[in-house]
């Protein structure tokens, strides 16, 4: 842990963002520190998913003001794949199904794209499969995940585990988890949390988006940020969770 208050891996500075003609983020600021778990909580429709989409450069979102600084560089004009290659990962609230694209082939392409970007040797099919099997086991996933099409016909839990599998294999530096806990039974929640906790290495940062505190029993947050009406209205330590549970979001004052 560093005492340097200026040490930030991601700085979201007064971001205004629109979807269609509707302004969703209205001057949102937030800093992520390396090695820390930041939880974002807020009611449905507050703009939590929009924030995650803005960070990864989703086409739905038009940034109309502010800046996003990642490792000291403005990334607001970067392509989504550049952000990913540089180490930003989003676990989607609703991962899309892609029939006909084999899950293992997809993930190997992604892993090798990143390795190539980092100047590392690409993994051949056999090397990759060995790795993938290791993680499948760890996450309690069936081995047919290798041969199935990407997310096609996956249950809600399988989709979320598959997101975590990708996260683990891509080894990102900033990990955004959008409602990773929604629709998970207790076993899946445990497996997913275990995967996330394994990724904690003192350097990686996590942005855990949830409107429900359950996941925070498993992944201990360092900071809680409350997002309401397109802005972060409060930042505090983990003690805020209990307060939110008791009094709800409406009781929070800026």
């Amino acid at each position: 842990m560093s005492n340097n208050k200026n040490e930030k891996v991601l700085e979201i500075k007064d971001v205004h963002a629109k979807i269609g003609n509707k302004e969703i983020l209205k001057g949102l600021s937030l800093d992520l520190e390396p090695g820390k778990v930041h939880a974002i909580m807020g009611p449905n429709g507050a703009g939590k998913s929009t924030l995650s989409k803005t960070i990864v450069g989703h086409y739905d979102v038009e940034m109309s003001g502010g800046d996003i600084i990642y490792k000291g560089k403005s990334i607001k004009d970067w392509e989504p794949e550049e952000r990913a290659l540089e180490g930003i990962f989003l676990s989607f609230q609703h991962p899309v199904e892609i029939p006909g694209v084999n899950n293992a082939y997809f993930l190997r392409t992604a892993v090798n794209a990143k390795r190539k970007h980092e100047g590392k040797e690409e993994l051949n099919a056999a090397e990759f499969l060995r790795e993938m099997k290791k993680y499948l086991e760890l996450l309690g996933m069936k081995s047919d995940m290798i041969s199935r099409s990407l997310n096609e016909g996956f249950s809600g839990g399988e989709k979320k585990r598959n997101e975590i599998l990708q996260m683990m294999m891509l080894e990102p530096d900033v990990i955004i988890l959008d409602e990773i806990d929604s629709g998970l039974d207790i076993d899946a929640l445990r497996a997913v949390s275990e995967g996330i906790n394994r990724m904690k290495d003192g350097k990686r940062s996590f942005l855990v988006i949830t409107h429900y505190s359950r996941i925070l029993d498993y992944i201990e947050p360092d900071y809680i940020h409350v997002l309401k009406d397109g802005k972060v209205i409060k930042t505090a330590g983990p003690e805020l969770v209990a307060q939110l549970e008791e009094h709800g979001y409406d009781a929070i004052e800026e």
């Binding site: 990864v56 989703h58 086409y59 392509e79 989504p80 794949e81 952000r83 990913a84 290659l85 989003l90 989607f92 991962p95 899309v96 892609i98 029939p99 006909g100 694209v101 997809f106 993930l107 392409t109 992604a110 794209a113 990143k114 970007h117 099409s149 990708q166 891509l170």
Partner: protein, 404 residues
């Protein structure tokens, strides 16, 4: 001799014969071809089967008619036909020049007859046993009109496969009139796997085919048409009793390409079945064609006919002309047909990009996922990989200047 095919328009049988330099003592098959050509007339943009294809501008050019001079082929691994001349034949395989003695007198395509008239002879291929053969076509002349035809026979109770590909040197402005007369023997299977990658502005092709599927026989026709330029394959398929055709057509077109399939599948025998699937991926200014009629005759009770076309447009200027049609004269049958056109799913592209896969690569993965259901029907892994590579090559060529 030079020839502008459009000059044969609205001419009588005798005039056509004279203009093509055909002497009086023609063999009966050529006489018949002449008669049919005069009857059908040279295709125009108003001809139904050519309505989506720029046939007039192709036929309006003057070409040097390139007539093949037979020479002794060498023994090799494949059948190689260069400019209509057999130059390589696998050992023991029966590939030879002959007269065409079994012309289809009810073909709908005038170019079928014209190519028969212009070709001095046909190339006969007798497939013995469970043959598996590669057939390579090669073109080396510019500004040429090259007419040649293949007559193909297989044997009863046998399962033969032909893998067909096309090569070219750096030629331009040639027109190839080509096609099969295919006679698929009783109780046999013939598989034809055709891959045709074309660059822009090398040659155009009208390939006019007749496929006779005899009783209890199977025709498996898979065509992979990739790249640019102008080419139309016209199929006429006649199905006997308990016969079956499984036709699959993959189109990946870019640039200014206009290519595709015009087909008429005639169910003549009882219990005949047909399945035809077209998958079309169109980029740039390309136009894809799938103009396909399935006709079920009175005699063809208890048939099954299924036909489907799906297209993905990768560019706003791309266009798919899909016209699946059923013409049915009985009601004891099972039939379906349909056509859809759409775009790649942005959400899917984004998902792949968000994992570090580039925009072009993401599109390629999705396009291949779409195409793969057809490519994977080629069971032989070596040929499957070859087709996949050809596909990727055409895809990347079309994406060189891709802007998002």
């Amino acid at each position: 001799m030079t020839l502008t095919i459009n000059n044969l328009k609205k001419k009588s049988k005798d005039e056509i014969a004279q203009m093509l330099g055909l002497t009086d003592d023609l063999p009966p098959s050529k006489e018949a071809a002449l008669e049919r050509l005069a009857e059908l007339g040279i295709p125009t943009k108003k001809s139904e089967e050519y309505r989506y294809f720029d046939v007039e501008s192709l036929l309006d050019k003057s070409y040097e008619v390139h007539l093949h001079v037979p020479k002794e082929p060498k023994i090799g691994e494949k059948i190689v036909i260069e400019n209509g001349v057999i130059i390589e034949v696998p050992k023991g395989m029966r590939v030879y020049y002959d007269q065409c003695d079994a012309l289809d007198l009810t073909h709908y395509d005038p170019i079928y007859y014209l190519s028969h008239l212009l070709a001095p002879h046909v190339i006969k291929i007798d497939l013995d046993g469970d043959a598996e053969v590669e057939l390579v076509h090669r073109y080396t002349h510019s500004g040429a009109l090259l007419p040649y035809r293949i007559v193909l026979f297989n044997q009863e109770n046998r399962h033969a496969t032909v893998y067909e590909t096309f090569e070219t040197e750096e030629i331009s402005e040639s027109l190839i009139l080509y096609g099969y007369d295919m006679h698929i023997a009783k109780d046999s299977t013939l598989r034809l796997i055709k891959t045709q990658s074309m660059d822009e502005n090398r040659y155009a092709m009208i390939s006019s085919n007749r496929i006779k599927v005899n009783d209890h026989a199977n025709a498996i026709i898979k065509t992979f048409d990739l790249g640019g330029d102008h080419a139309l394959q016209l199929l006429k398929v006649d199905l006997g009793t308990y016969s079956h055709i499984d036709a699959g057509h993959l189109l990946y077109l870019n640039h200014q390409a206009k290519r595709g399939t015009v087909s008429k599948i005639n169910h003549i025998g009882e219990h005949s079945t047909s399945q035809q699937e077209a998958k079309n991926i169109l980029d740039g200014n390309a136009r894809g064609i799938f103009d396909a009629l399935i006709k079920v005759e009175h005699s063809a009770k208890w048939t099954k006919a299924h036909q489907n076309s799906k297209a993905i447009l990768l560019h706003e200027d791309a266009y798919m002309a899909a016209k699946p049609q059923l013409e049915i004269y009985i009601d004891e049958l099972e039939a379906s047909h349909g056509a859809t056109t759409g775009q790649l799913d942005r959400k899917q592209i984004f998902y792949l990009q968000s994992r570090g896969i580039s925009y072009v690569e993401a599109r390629k993965m999705l396009v291949i996922a779409f195409a793969n259901t057809l490519i994977e029907t080629v069971k032989d892994t070596r040929h499957q990989e070859r087709i996949q590579k050809a596909f990727e090559k055409a895809f990347y060529a079309g994406h060189k200047e891709l802007k998002r």
